[in-house]
């Protein structure tokens, strides 16, 4: 046999093997609805213990970093992370008992005590997530020898696309991938090894302070959540509320942050999959950072610090230093910042109250609850159409109340509610909208 026929046989064999592998990868798409798979993934931490070795690859300051961590989870919200690599991280220990988090650095013998990091998912999270992402089932794949449902979450407005590999038998997310449309994959994580149903001991999630360790208490934020109006009563500087945000982002909570002499207001907005934070502090209490590159916001000087996965935009207005942090495109941060810098709060209150035929006081009150102007207009219009009170309507608009629950309360069919909602969205047309926010 000459060499050429051997090569042809090998190539043909390879094609057959690859085709077989392809067929296996493209296994019949599961009949389980993607929403049900997502729900399984979100509920899994409440019902199962696991421990495994996870490999993370994350964009960090224009470079990628690969991190290996031994991750243990005890239901419902205890967590232990022991970092194995790279060298600079090796030995770092994070122990979260569900109430407080301890972070220990053995090379420095330093321990940091802070708030819990392993938060529990609430029903509202799923509601907001499902409103703002298109879910699709991509099939079933093998991950470390286990069958996993593959689902994709595509943001309805622009943003980060996620893909999850959800263990078919436990619901634990075995692999994740986050893809930024402009930068490609910004974070991927997968278990290289995992064990389930271990009934891990409580003691494993209790931190024991090593002898001689220096302890730093890092509770920089007051517990609980406050509205912008409540925060305004606590600070001596004006609290700025974003007038417009990308579609789907809604107020998630506010807090007062204190570190040394620096007092800042922290406002959080989320679309269920991504978070944008705004920090506001008197300009006199914080200078410009040395890091980052100079940019302009609303014609004024600003600074953009691209940390990779996270982007930070800093600008100054009305004697305040405002900092926005998020995993959104730079242009989104700059557009949102430009809307805040424009400082048309009073003019917009008058404009929106005229458009939705409401009194300015109501609009101002809803703004004080952290709603964007579009959410204010939609809440008022929907409240009028449904005959519901404003607090209930605001809960629905923010995702604290599902469409099913509201329809049930009103004795309406869900499709009828959907039509009414669409009508209310039409009524709110013309209000500063996220069309300008990419």
């Amino acid at each position: 046999m000459t060499a050429a026929p051997i090569v042809r046989v090998l190539v043909a064999t390879a094609v057959v093997v690859l085709a077989a592998a392809q067929i296996n990868l493209a296994a019949p798409i599961s009949q389980v609805a993607p929403g049900r798979i997502l729900q399984m993934a979100l509920e899994a931490p409440r019902v199962i213990d696991y421990e495994g070795t996870k490999v993370l690859t994350v964009l960090r300051g224009g470079r990628t970093e690969t991190i290996t961590v031994a991750e243990s989870h005890k239901r419902p919200a205890a967590m232990r992370l022991e970092y194995l690599s790279p060298e600079g991280l090796a030995g770092r220990l994070i122990v979260d008992d569900g109430t407080v988090t301890w972070h220990y650095e053995p090379r420095l013998n330093m321990a940091f005590e802070g708030p819990a990091l392993a938060g529990q998912v609430q029903d509202r999270d799923l509601t907001v997530l499902l409103r703002n992402y298109r879910l699709s089932a991509l099939g079933v794949e093998d991950v470390i020898g286990r069958q996993a449902y593959v689902i994709a979450l595509d943001p309805i407005s622009q943003g980060v696309r996620r893909q999850l590999w959800v263990d078919r038998s436990t619901g634990v997310v075995l692999r994740t991938e986050e893809r930024d449309p402009s930068r490609g994959v910004i974070l991927s994580a997968y278990f290289a090894r995992v064990s389930f149903s271990l009934n891990l001991p409580e003691a494993y999630f209790q931190f024991r302070l090593p002898g001689g360790a220096r302890v730093f208490k890092m509770f920089t934020t007051e517990a609980g959540s406050m509205s912008p109006a409540a925060l305004q009563a606590r600070v001596r500087f004006p609290v700025l509320i974003p007038p417009v945000l990308p579609e789907g982002y809604t107020f998630r909570g506010g807090a007062l942050s204190r570190f040394g002499g620096l007092e800042s207001v922290h406002l959080r907005y989320s679309n269920g999959g991504n978070l944008i934070s705004f920090f506001e502090a008197p300009a006199g209490s914080i200078g410009w950072p040395g890091a980052g590159q100079p940019v302009t916001v609303g014609g004024g000087p600003a600074r953009l610090v691209d940390l990779g996965y996270l982007r930070v935009l800093i600008w100054e207005q009305r004697g305040l230093r405002v900092t926005a942090v998020g995993t959104v495109p730079t242009v989104t941060l700059e557009t949102v910042a430009g809307q805040i810098v424009a400082g048309r709060e009073q003019a917009l209150i008058q404009d929106v109250s005229r458009r939705v035929r409401s009194d300015p006081t109501t609009v101002r009150t809803l703004r004080g609850e952290g709603l964007t102007f579009l959410e204010v207009a939609r809440s008022i219009a929907l409240s009028r159409r449904l005959g519901t009170d404003l607090p209930t309507t605001v809960r629905f608009v923010r995702g604290s109340l599902t469409a099913g629950d509201l329809a049930g309360q009103l004795g309406m069919r869900p499709d009828a509610l959907q039509q009414t909602v669409q009508g209310a969205i039409g009524d709110a047309g013309g209000v500063p909208a996220p069309a300008t926010v990419r």
Partner: protein
């Protein structure tokens, strides 16, 4: 009258004019009668003359600090009469010191504010990124392993440790 022993002890003070008038009169009377004390008086005067020709040495700085701040158990320095006996240079130094203290007190809030501001600028991004990461921890899809890296790195910077180096070109 004054005896020989007592007069011998007062000769140096008599020479320096430090005795009370009645004591000086008594010593002077004794010197007229006592040859030994007159001889001793002349030796003391000659010695003091020689000492007066030596250059004046400035005391070390530590000396003044020990004089001005008596330690525990040490008797406080005698109060000096005011103002005639205080040299002008000391008054000038005292005024300058008071002015310096006043300036420091007046500028302390400004200096502290500037230092705080610079420090806040230095740690501001890390502080806010840390707060943001805690905010992300209640997002349903956030990866806790990644949040541990973000929070841990920020903790170290806030504690005054240098930022962690790392990452590799994509």
């Amino acid at each position: 009258m004054i005896n020989h022993h007592r007069a011998g002890h007062l000769l140096s003070s008599y020479l320096d004019g430090e005795l009370l008038p009645e004591e000086a009169t008594a010593v002077q009377g004794h010197l007229l009668e006592c040859a030994a004390c007159r001889a001793a008086f002349e030796r003391i005067r000659a010695t003091k003359g020689l000492l007066g020709e030596l250059p004046v040495a400035e005391p070390p700085v530590e000396f003044w600090s020990t004089v001005r701040e008596p330690g525990p158990g040490r008797p406080p320095a005698a109060r000096l009469p005011w103002p005639g006996s205080i040299p002008r240079r000391r008054v000038a130094w005292g005024a300058a010191a008071a002015l310096a203290v006043g300036l420091v007190l007046a500028l302390t809030p400004v200096i502290k504010g500037t230092v705080d501001r610079l420090h806040a600028a230095e740690i501001g991004v890390d502080l806010y990124v840390r707060e943001h990461a805690f905010g992300m921890s209640i997002e349903p899809l956030a990866d806790r392993g990644f949040l541990g890296v973000v929070v841990g790195d920020a903790d170290l910077v806030l504690a005054g440790e240098p930022s962690r180096a790392g990452g590799s070109p994509p």
